[in-house]
């Protein structure tokens, strides 16, 4: 019994040690996002609360906590309340398998990349549930759009993952990172990295693919009826998902926690910091895209997903596998 309790406590500490930094960094990253967005458009951005406006997200969170939660009378209450919970839980649960160093990972499972992919494909449920349970036109349209969008872009993300797996020969995330010791996969698979980045934008409903919440046509999409803490949970989940996609991109293509050069000054920086730098770099790209690119039209979005990305990434699978086979580079263990 005591062993069980011991195990339980140690695991709980580990989980808290992972979760609390993530939640804090989500708050910081929202600030960063707004700041970058403002700088591109020659505005100031949030700069009042705290030094450089760093505490802006904290102030927002406090505001959300003390606001009243309104549940529409004609909504489906259980599912309405469940939707933001599902979104946020799924966004946080996926971090369990992200490796921050050789042995710094909460659970080092065999099928890590499949787990990540499965969790990110479940993310659509929060949006569908929220949109349907609101029992209102705008949320419903937004959720239907996003369901179609996320399902379509998941397909190309899956095929891109297959590309990487062909070069690695294992589904374990640490193996994927270690396979990039000689060369990061962004070099041989550069087109796949571009497609992955754009698909990740679509998967997380970021501009230019933010059609589910296109404010010009759908008010706020699936979030229209949400208020207070429930809205904040959607928003936390969304940004945690964006961070997760950045982490996935840096593990698959940018060498994860590996330092770029195994030489003296780079060796000193611990491996988790490298992963964080890479995630931040990708996130900077995400927010720059948000600032400079106009929104896609819906049919263009679907065309891009199904008629361009899917054939391209499938063709690249054939190319990669035939190259690896011909030059006898297939990873066999």
């Amino acid at each position: 019994m005591l062993e069980y309790l011991n195990f339980l406590f140690s695991e709980t500490y580990k989980i808290l040690f992972l979760l609390i930094p993530i939640l804090v960094s989500v708050a910081m990253i929202v600030w960063l996002d707004r700041r970058v967005w403002a700088f591109v458009q020659k505005r100031r951005g949030p700069n009042v609360v705290g030094p450089f406006g760093l505490l802006q997200s904290l102030a927002d969170a406090l505001k959300y906590i003390f606001k009243e939660i309104i549940i529409p009378a004609s909504s489906n209450k259980t599912i309405f309340i469940l939707a933001p919970i599902v979104t946020m839980t799924l966004a946080l649960v996926a971090w369990a398998v992200i490796p921050f160093g050789k042995n710094i990972v909460l659970s080092d499972i065999n099928v890590g990349i499949l787990y990540l992919f499965a969790i990110s494909s479940l993310g659509v449920y929060g949006i569908i549930m929220g949109g349907w349970a609101s029992n209102s036109k705008y949320p419903f349209l937004g959720s239907i759009r996003s369901a179609a969008q996320m399902v379509s872009y998941e397909v190309s993300i899956g095929v891109i993952i297959i590309n990487v797996l062909l070069c690695v020969g294992s589904l374990n995330l640490n193996d994927i990172v270690l396979a990039q010791q000689k060369i990061w996969f962004i070099v041989p698979l550069f087109p796949m990295f571009i497609i992955f980045f754009i698909s990740a934008l679509a998967e997380t409903n970021r501009p230019p693919f933010d059609l589910p919440e296109a404010e010009a046509e759908l008010v706020a999409g699936y979030q229209t009826e949400y208020s207070g803490m429930m809205y904040a949970m959607f928003w936390l989940g969304e940004y945690a998902n964006i961070l997760l996609m950045c982490a996935m991109g840096s593990i698959l293509f940018l060498g994860g926690w590996l330092s770029p050069i195994e030489a003296y000054p780079f060796n000193l920086i611990p491996s988790p910091l490298w992963l964080i730098f890479k995630i931040l770099f990708l996130f900077l790209l995400f927010s720059l895209v948000k600032a400079i690119v106009p929104r896609y039209r819906y049919d263009q979005l679907m065309r891009l997903g199904w008629k361009i990305f899917l054939p391209l990434s499938l063709a690249w699978v054939v190319l990669t596998s035939s190259y690896l086979f011909y030059f006898d580079l297939l990873p066999v263990n």
Partner: protein
Amino acid sequence: MITHAIFFYTFALVAIISALMVTISKNTVHSVFFLILDFISISCLFIMIGAEFLGMIMLIVYVGAVAVLFLFVVMMLNVAQQKNQWFAAEKGSTHIPVGLIVSLIIFFEIIIVVGGWKYKPELLDSSKLSNTMDLSNTHSIGSVLYTDYILLFQLAGMILLVSMIGAIVLTFRKRIGVKKQSYIKQISRERNEGVELVDVEKNKGVKIDV
């Protein structure tokens, strides 16, 4: 061991109850959500017996893709508010007998398959799935799926392809009189074609949008 049992019975109970709720629930959308819960708990059971690859694929394929489309259709059909009154069916309705017959057939099929395993152990030997711990189960599935069963695997793929093409052909129709935007035309438009200077005659106007 006790923890294992507790987890197993939790997931099994959730799976059975949600499977029941799929049929009992009055709201069709709720049924689909229960179906999703069922899929998730079954994939948890798969993971518990060490078939982590199958469990994850189950999550990705069924929960992540199939059930989303299912939900999509059910939500679009607007049958959510329809009251499900299948015990008070109209007189002469054949739904219940037909359903009973189908479920009986499925039940007997399962019994035959499981009985086959029990009374003819050599049936199991035909599979070469190795149970050694040094191979991860992704590797062991790959090693039989793409060698011994490659024909069946490709056949399954062909069936899916044919049904996909069939669905597209059935729903595809050329609509006449619909304005379509050709993206090639839009992209390849040059600056000098975009703007045109026209002399407008008095009291006549210009016809645009040819």
